[in-house]
């Protein structure tokens, strides 16, 4: 199931390009730090230094090594991405499945809650909360996850509802299968492609939101982030320093986001086309 889905996703050029881009970025982040090591927090009097053999991207306004900050920022982005991706997918699947299987009042309440939370864009709510708690990475993961599972839960619920109504599920139930068996055998495998898609999209959204929060300055100031690097460097656009401070950071952020977006798009298209094919098969039989 997963393999077939993956094959299908790879039929979209977007997926392949996204993966290639992602692999290149990741390998740069692994290889380059081997040659350029510096303490990202260490300030010095050598400010606005252009790139040189010691520091690949020079130094910033307080003399910190930009490249090592870029690397740590990337690592933090990745942490947030993975954390939010997993946590919000978990929430989406949990609540979506619960809502679909429970039905009735619980379903109604949960879905109404989703409706309500979706009216105001999640980034705005996350900003106001972050403004008060000034989160570090773990807290950031939790806050972002709490407001990014909504659409996923809706999709999961719809999927579960449609699977639940399929004749073979009824048939299995009539053979005497219990709910646990039905869930493991008939429901979960069908949800795995969707979960993978949600994971990827959750990761993308996390990087996106994390950068935004850091840019606007509501994250804990001790956390190194691409977003805050961009907003700091923007203050010195009139100096040449943007070429090795702003540009590489913006580039790293853009490329990571584009990579994740493309993979997510490819997965989603594959998901849609496979579910449409499922429909035609159902219509034929």
């Amino acid at each position: 199931m997963l393999y077939k889905f993956w094959q299908e996703a790879l039929e979209y050029k977007e997926t392949i390009i996204g993966i290639i881009l992602g692999v290149i970025l990741l390998s740069l982040f692994v290889i380059l730090p081997l040659f350029f090591t510096a303490n990202p927090y260490q300030t010095s009097l050598n400010i606005f230094s252009p790139p040189n053999s010691k520091s690949l991207l020079g130094t910033n306004d307080v003399g910190q090594d930009i490249f090592s900050r870029l690397i740590v920022g990337g690592q933090n982005s990745l942490r947030v991405a993975l954390g939010v991706g997993i946590f919000s997918t978990f929430l989406a699947v949990g609540i979506g499945v619960w809502s679909a299987l429970a039905g009735g009042l619980i379903d109604n309440l949960l879905m109404r809650m989703v409706d309500i939370l979706l009216v105001i864009p999640n980034i705005i709510i996350i900003i106001i909360i972050s403004a008060y708690v000034s989160p570090t990475i773990l807290l950031e993961i939790i806050i972002i996850s709490l407001f990014t599972w909504l659409v996923g839960a809706r999709v999961v619920r719809a999927q579960v509802l449609s699977i639940k109504e399929r004749t073979y599920v009824y048939a299995a139930a009539l053979f005497g299968a219990g709910p646990f068996y039905l869930f493991l055998k008939h429901l979960l495998p069908e949800l795995i492609p969707l979960m993978l898609t949600l994971l990827l999209q959750g990761m993308r959204r996390a990087v996106f939101i994390e950068a935004g929060l850091a840019f606007i300055g509501v994250v804990n100031p001790n956390v190194i982030s691409w977003g805050s690097m961009i907003s700091q460097s923007l203050n010195y656009y009139y100096l040449d320093v943007w070429k090795w401070w702003l540009l590489p950071t913006a580039g790293a952020l853009s490329l990571s986001l584009i990579s994740l977006t493309l993979i997510g798009y490819g997965l989603e298209e594959a998901l849609i086309s496979s579910s449409e094919r499922g429909k035609t098969i159902a219509a034929d039989s």
Binding site: K13, E14, I120, I124, I127, Y132, Y237, Y238, A250, L262
Partner: protein, 322 residues
């Protein structure tokens, strides 16, 4: 969703936002007064005024009484007082609202029109080389946060090429009037509006395109072709018109996301709207202002959703029944 259910959702959303706003500062560890008024206030206020304020907000009473007091002041239109700016929050916000409306409004119109037309054309030409390329780049751009696009625009078109001003909404200390004033406003508006609409474009384009693909294989489109309509007529009068429905149904969401995007864009371009104000409030830890902005944005989005629903009902005859 039926109209009544939607209305319920909006009311509930408003309630949720108010409760969140009320609880956030009060759940913070430490002195709630500090969390509500910010450090600036603590430094400038005398002990008596402080006591007075505590009494006024019932901060020494149980939570539910505090909530009552909070609601009471909200209903009187009192959003609090910004001690950092030394002005009532409501008047500070009212001062920046027009600029935000201008930016968000123009970006929305631009992105909706452009996204719709591009979506129609891209659906019509599905699979062609140029369409694939455009789609690919649009998807790529759609993943970028608005501030990033803003930064790139600012760097190239303002800082490097010097085609547009670096920031603000007006040239400071100039006494332009009439046409020159309008020109000045547009010049300052151009880059932020373009950046913002670019981030909004992809969603509308993809939505229109997906809808076009369904509609183009609909029987009435076949009929239109058989009727001898020119391709343009088939595309816009029939397939396009129907593809407008999902776009209009999503208008409310679009307003929300454009508004969210504008917060960042305004910071980049120092455009004196809500985003810029939010940035200042964050820098100054000006909590009353922060709360006021949050509430205003939420109410605006809810109202926009409500209006957007009305428009969608107007456009789609099938929804009018309900």
């Amino acid at each position: 969703m039926k109209q009544r259910e939607k209305l319920f959702t909006y009311v509930a959303t408003l309630l949720f936002i108010i409760i969140l706003n009320f609880l956030l500062p009060r759940l913070m560890p430490g002195d709630p007064f500090l969390a509500i008024y910010g450090e600036e206030a603590a430094l400038t206020l005398s002990a008596e005024t402080k006591q007075e304020l505590i009494a006024q907000m019932s901060l020494d009473k149980p939570l539910w009484i505090q909530f009552g007091a909070y609601l009471h002041s909200l209903f009187r239109g009192d959003l609090g007082y910004s001690y950092a700016l030394n002005a009532p929050v409501s008047s500070v916000i009212a001062g920046v609202l027009p600029w935000s409306a201008l930016l968000v409004g123009s970006a929305l119109i631009l992105s909706t029109l452009l996204g719709f037309v591009l979506g129609v054309e891209s659906g019509w030409r599905k699979g062609s080389r140029s369409e694939k390329l455009i789609l690919f780049s649009i998807i790529g751009i759609s993943g970028l946060p608005s501030f990033l696009i803003g930064v790139i625009f600012l760097l190239f078109f303002a800082a490097q090429l010097d085609w547009f001003p670096l920031g603000g909404a007006l040239t400071p200390y100039s006494d332009f009037t009439g046409l020159t004033l309008l020109q000045d406003i547009l010049k300052h508006l151009f880059l932020p509006a373009m950046a913002l609409s670019l981030t909004q474009l992809s969603e509308i384009l993809l939505l229109t395109r997906a809808s076009m693909l369904t509609n183009l294989s609909s029987p009435y489109v076949h009929t239109a072709a058989a009727k001898g309509l020119k391709p343009l007529g088939i595309r816009y009068r029939h397939a396009g018109r129907n593809s407008l429905l999902p776009v209009s149904a999503r208008l409310g969401v679009s307003v929300g996301s454009a508004l969210a995007g504008s917060l960042f864009i305004e910071i980049v371009f120092a455009y004196p709207g809500m985003g810029d104000l939010l940035h200042q409030a964050l820098l100054n830890r000006d909590y009353p202002l922060l709360q006021g902005i949050f509430l205003t944005i939420a109410v605006t989005i809810i109202l926009a959703n409500f209006l957007a629903d009305k428009i969608a009902w107007r456009i789609d005859p099938r929804m009018r029944e309900e």
